[in-house]
Amino acid sequence: MTTRYTKDHEYIRVEGDAGIVGISDYAQSQLGDVVFVELPSVGKTLSKGDEAAVVESVKAASEVYAPVSGEVVEVNSELEASPGTVNEDPAGRGWFMKIRLANASELDGLMTEEQYQEFVKSIS
């Protein structure tokens, strides 16, 4: 199991040929209280960098971009009723969607956990 991060603070945790996508703990802390999440429909095909979901805090709306290309095979519909889960457990129960990877080599362009923590340090 590998987790990779984007510069836009999405993570993808790869399990086999699919990956669980969410936002990092740093991202949720910057957004503040999440009050609404808009998820893509299952079956949607995304290209890396596409707008995949929207997350709204009390203050503002932010886009969640697809960290890799692929098909959305599952979404965390629990977030519709309890969007605050994104704040409470971003790496766990606060996941957004599962994407079946179209091209696993895209992961190589993303940051490792260690690189991402360095990146966060450099911008905060």
């Binding site: 209280d33 009050v35 009390v58």
Partner: protein, 378 residues
């Protein structure tokens, strides 16, 4: 490229930093948008207990008549705003608007007739931070001889809002407990002289407290020492005022809106409606008589998605009819709330509308404001 002007700091800046606030630029000031607990908690705490807000960035000033006559200073201000200033009782406060010649709103403000003995012929003004320089210039340029504007940049202002506010402030200044809504008094808290009014901008009961800048931190910390009080940032201030249906200048009201369109007719007292004598009186009297072409309404989106400022309002058939001027998530309502302008024929409660969010029309209905009931002590 020119360097941006350095951000100003209120006398409570160091307190916010110590409390771990997230600071953001607002109207030229470095202000706390939220403290570590977050906007939702701060919002709810204010509705259930008492929230303490630093609003020292707002402009505080006095309008002073040389002859110490209330009538002189009242008439000078009545030439610029549509409120009845003349009939203000000592220590009474009113909400009003500085108007442009076409009846558009230059700013909204609070006006109080100073009641302290020996200070006759003085009005205390509180204006928006973002507009204070423009407001002061506007007022100064239009004052008659014998009336002057005295800006008080050495004062702090804080708001204590929520159902526990009366008990909390009552412990420090018992005479504030019996103060009616929109009345003010001068009190001593510890060794600082404070001007306290029963007012605010959250829809809750509460107070605004003005004191000297050098006394501000001590008073702030004294109020925060009460377990009923938590500090509240600009984020929750905005969600609280939105739920209370109150206008934010530069968003819900500006030079393109009149007080009648904005639903602020209640702030224009009967004598002024009849006599006029303020900028834009012709238009405003006509709008009172014939009804304005468009009006500010409350809007409740039917789903969970918030519609924010700038979202287009359409009919269910897709005809564009207006724009959202404030919108977001209402923590007390536990759902999205918005306000915006629509034509008069679409303003009835329950009218079906669509709000265009990220290109998609969301069903919504015209709804009564305030979204959360006002709990003022009248």
């Amino acid at each position: 490229m020119a360097e941006p002007a350095p951000l100003l700091q209120t006398p409570l800046h160091a307190e916010h930093v110590t409390l771990g606030a997230r600071m953001v630029p607002f109207a030229g000031y470095d202000m706390p948008v939220q403290y570590p607990t977050g906007i939702l908690t701060e919002h709810t705490w204010t509705r259930e207990h008492a929230g303490l807000f630093d609003v020292s960035h707002m402009g505080q000033a006095f309008l002073v008549a040389e002859d110490k006559s209330h009538e002189t200073v009242a008439r000078a201000l009545e030439a610029l705003i549509p409120a009845d200033v003349l009939n203000l009782k000592p220590n009474q406060q009113r909400y009003s608007q500085l108007l442009a010649d076409d009846g558009g709103i230059l700013d909204d403000l609070m006006v109080t007739r100073v009641g302290a003995p020996g200070h006759e012929g003085r009005l205390y003004l509180v204006v928006n931070a973002s507009m204070k320089e423009a407001d002061y210039a506007h007022i100064q340029a239009r004052l008659p001889d014998g009336v002057s504007l005295d800006r008080k940049d050495d004062l702090a202002l804080m708001a204590l809002q929520g159902p526990s506010a009366e008990a909390v402030l009552g412990k420090l200044a018992p005479e504030t407990a019996g103060l009616p809504f929109m009345m003010s008094t001068d009190v001593r808290i510890g060794d600082s002289q404070c001007h306290v009014s029963r007012s605010g901008y959250t829809g809750e009961d509460g107070y605004e407290i003005s004191c000297r800048a050098e006394d501000a931190a001590k008073l702030w910390n004294r109020l925060l020492a009460d377990p009923e009080v938590k500090p509240i940032g600009l984020g929750a201030r905005d969600s609280l005022r939105l739920e209370a249906g109150l206008c934010l200048y530069g968003h819900d009201i500006d030079t393109t809106t009149s007080p009648i369109e904005a639903g602020l007719i209640w702030s224009i007292q009967k004598r002024r409606r009849e006599e006029g004598g303020f900028p834009g009186a012709g238009r405003i009297q006509r709008e009172i008589k014939e009804g304005p072409a468009r009006v500010r309404v409350g809007i409740r989106p039917e789903g969970r998605a918030p519609a924010r400022e700038g979202a287009i309002i359409t009919t269910p058939e897709g005809r564009e009819v207006g724009i959202v001027t404030s919108g977001g998530f209402g923590p007390t309502v536990n759902g999205p709330v918005a306000m915006g302008y629509v034509s008069k024929d679409l303003s009835a409660l329950g009218t079906d509308l669509h709000l265009v969010v990220r290109g998609k029309p969301l069903p919504a209905k015209v709804a009564a404001m305030p979204f959360a009931p006002h709990r003022y002590k009248r």
